[in-house]
Symmetry: C2
Subunit: 205 residues, 2 copies
């Protein structure tokens, strides 16, 4: 968090940087105190702005949470680019775009805050679920040419969520420190199998 | 939670049911308020016991958290049974034991509380990580006959964690309601690939 900000007295609602300062303070609050523990008033204090400005920009805590998720997860929307891949490279492209997105510093901090909040609040979990459906599962489902597209997309989503939890949240080795290229090479074939393989049939060992 | 318990005046430390009542109250507290929000005093009040009894049985909040994890996750220890499977059935057995363990009512409630607490507290995350290493990753690693055993075990752990998050915590469809047999049939081949396949090579589609 930027701690160099001074008085908020002369700040106008549209002032550049104010919105970003509130988002930074909100990210910290959701990360430290979870969804239920974070308050609009506390976030305003940490961002050194009037609470009315927080309401002006974001409406409610729910609106603020959505904004943290949207800005933090914005790189995750780039994942939709994977749909241009040839059929036999879908899995490899998906995991590479996903790791790239998570490894941008902005995404990593904000998505960790979002995942932690979602683990402790039904409301936050609902917001996260609708984002994941919109940004990841729907493009994935649309790209699947095989039957059972929703199940295939959901299997990929579950596997990717497990990778994020292991690598970025719990930081369990050896996955936490594994070279991203190597991780992509190892996980890609399983995602490819889920997207285009014969579900329930054994992949070649 | 059992709400029929009466006065605690005549309860002796070893009385049957007291320890279990404290564990139930602690599970609710970790689920509702996270690790940081749960207090020994609040848990004692909910369990209708003297706070000294909670200390007597569990020592500290950390000890109480470990006990919730150990009793809730006890069925997960059964997963180690998968090691008796023939080499070509490891993945199928692993996912079946894992889903069986999660779908016992006791495990499901307590593990949800543990996962939520771990998502919000570094201390709780450390306890969970050492349990997962001990109960799941170490037996898995020991059972792998191929090279890179720690990475293989960790890939299985990450995939299983993602399935739990999707099916039991976020409850995202279609995985949330999918028949357990079908889910096992679909996920088993990917676990088998991670345990015994050629990492980085494409499974047959």
């Amino acid at each position: 968090m930027t701690k160099t900000r001074k008085s908020t007295a002369g700040r106008r609602p549209g002032e550049s940087g104010t919105r970003e300062a509130i988002l930074e303070a909100a990210t910290d609050a959701f990360l430290d105190r979870g969804y239920d523990g974070a308050t609009m008033r506390g976030i305003a204090r940490a961002a050194e702005v009037d609470p009315a400005l927080v309401v002006h920009f974001f409406g409610s805590k729910d609106g603020l949470f959505k904004a943290v998720l949207e800005t933090g997860a914005n790189p995750l929307r780039q994942i939709a680019k994977f749909v241009d891949a040839p059929d036999d490279e879908l899995g490899a492209r998906l995991i590479r775009h996903y790791l790239d997105a998570w490894e941008s510093p902005e995404t990593s901090a904000r998505m960790s805050a979002v995942l932690r909040a979602a683990a402790t609040s039904e409301a936050a979990a609902e917001v996260l679920k609708s984002f994941v459906t919109d940004a990841l599962l729907t493009p994935l489902t649309g790209r699947v040419n095989a039957g059972e597209a929703p199940l295939r997309a959901s299997l990929c989503g579950a596997h990717l969520a497990g990778i994020s939890l292991t690598r970025y949240i719990l930081k369990t080795e050896p996955i936490a420190s594994l070279d991203a290229e190597r991780l992509a090479a190892v996980v890609g074939p399983c995602l490819q199998h889920y997207l285009a393989g014969e579900l329930g049939a054994g992949p070649a060992t």
